[in-house]
Symmetry: C2
Subunit: 173 residues, 2 copies
DNA sequence: TAAACTATACCGTCCAGACGGTATAGTTGA
DNA sequence: TCAACTATACCGTCTGGACGGTATAGTTTA
């Protein structure tokens, strides 16, 4: 039936990220990704000629999602820093899933590490531009990282956000 | 030469953790661990009968290191929370190395995830007991997590600690 | 002598990747 | 308009290598 190429590519990337999240890099084999996406292995390799291309495809999509997120951040009513903390605690969004996948990959692929570094810097810049306080900006980013890490260890980050907001209030935020 | 069994075991665990940190779980094969430790594969399997036992050995050692760390935390002059933040930014210590290894393993081994959860809870308890402020305790732990994550992505966490201390000062800490 | 190894040879399984083939939608030119 | 051709989107099979684990025979040192 030859569905649109982009649809299948997205499905393959979704499958790749799902498997990375569930079982780590060792679980995200080409066979498993193809099966998860409901595509044959040959089909997968038609779209992504190698595992490296699959990794690259995932990171490319992450960069797009982040640039969209940064637009939202800048436009957020409560300010970019609050938006940042709240979205750090969100799980299951396309951005979150893509970010988790990249962090799994970062242990074995330098390109993933580099991408995560760039993303971190972009976020920090937005927060610092808004607050005009580099100490606070760094601290908020660390808290966001912490929320993300907590979630990735399988603990709820939602209640933690409330604790953070309580503390931020004391700082006049 | 038949050196002490415990020495070789430690060397094997060191090698395992080194490879986990450098190349992730996929790089820490039994062959590679044995080679890194300067031991034959047979020698490795003499001490750790399977890869699962190697994982368990690493987590057991981590738990010991953490219990020692908690003693130091409680006795720290500047308070457990400052000790916690400063040691979160330290890299290359046995505890740090063991912790990085466990976090690599946590993506593929439930036991590692569970161990990390327990450790997090233990640290939080100490900080909360000292500060008597659950909001602050959670926030400090998140910052510590952030420092750890930042370091594990290959960025220096040392300067970040200074930013955090600046902010903590505003909170009367 | 027994514990602590080394060295080597395997085995079954899984994985990345290559390859040949198929189906179909669109394009071109006589 | 229709046959010839091209591009896209797959499927199924195979191979070479790596990995976890087993087995076994010999070696070193307290």
């Amino acid at each position: 039936m030859a569905r649109k190429s982009t649809d299948t590519k997205e499905k393959l990337l979704d499958a790749f990220e799902t498997l990375l999240e569930r079982h780590g890099t060792s679980g995200a084999t080409l066979d498993a990704v193809a099966a998860e996406a409901g595509v044959s292995k040959g089909g997968l390799l038609y779209h992504f000629g190698s595992k490296a291309e699959l990794v690259k495809g995932s990171l490319d999509r992450l960069r797009v999602l982040v640039s969209e997120d940064i637009k939202e951040m800048k436009a957020a009513e409560a300010g970019p820093h609050i938006f940042y903390l709240e979205t750090s605690a969100e799980i299951g969004t396309p951005l979150d899933r893509s970010l988790v996948a990249a962090s799994r990959l970062s242990h074995e692929y330098d390109e993933a590490r580099e991408t995560l570094r760039e993303i971190r810097n972009a976020w920090l810049e937005v927060i610092n531009d808004h607050l005009g306080d580099i100490h606070l900006a760094h601290t908020i980013q660390l808290i966001g990282d912490g929320l993300y890490l907590k979630e990735s260890v399988g603990l709820s980050a939602e209640e933690a956000v409330e604790h953070v907001k309580n503390v931020l209030a004391r700082l006049g935020l």
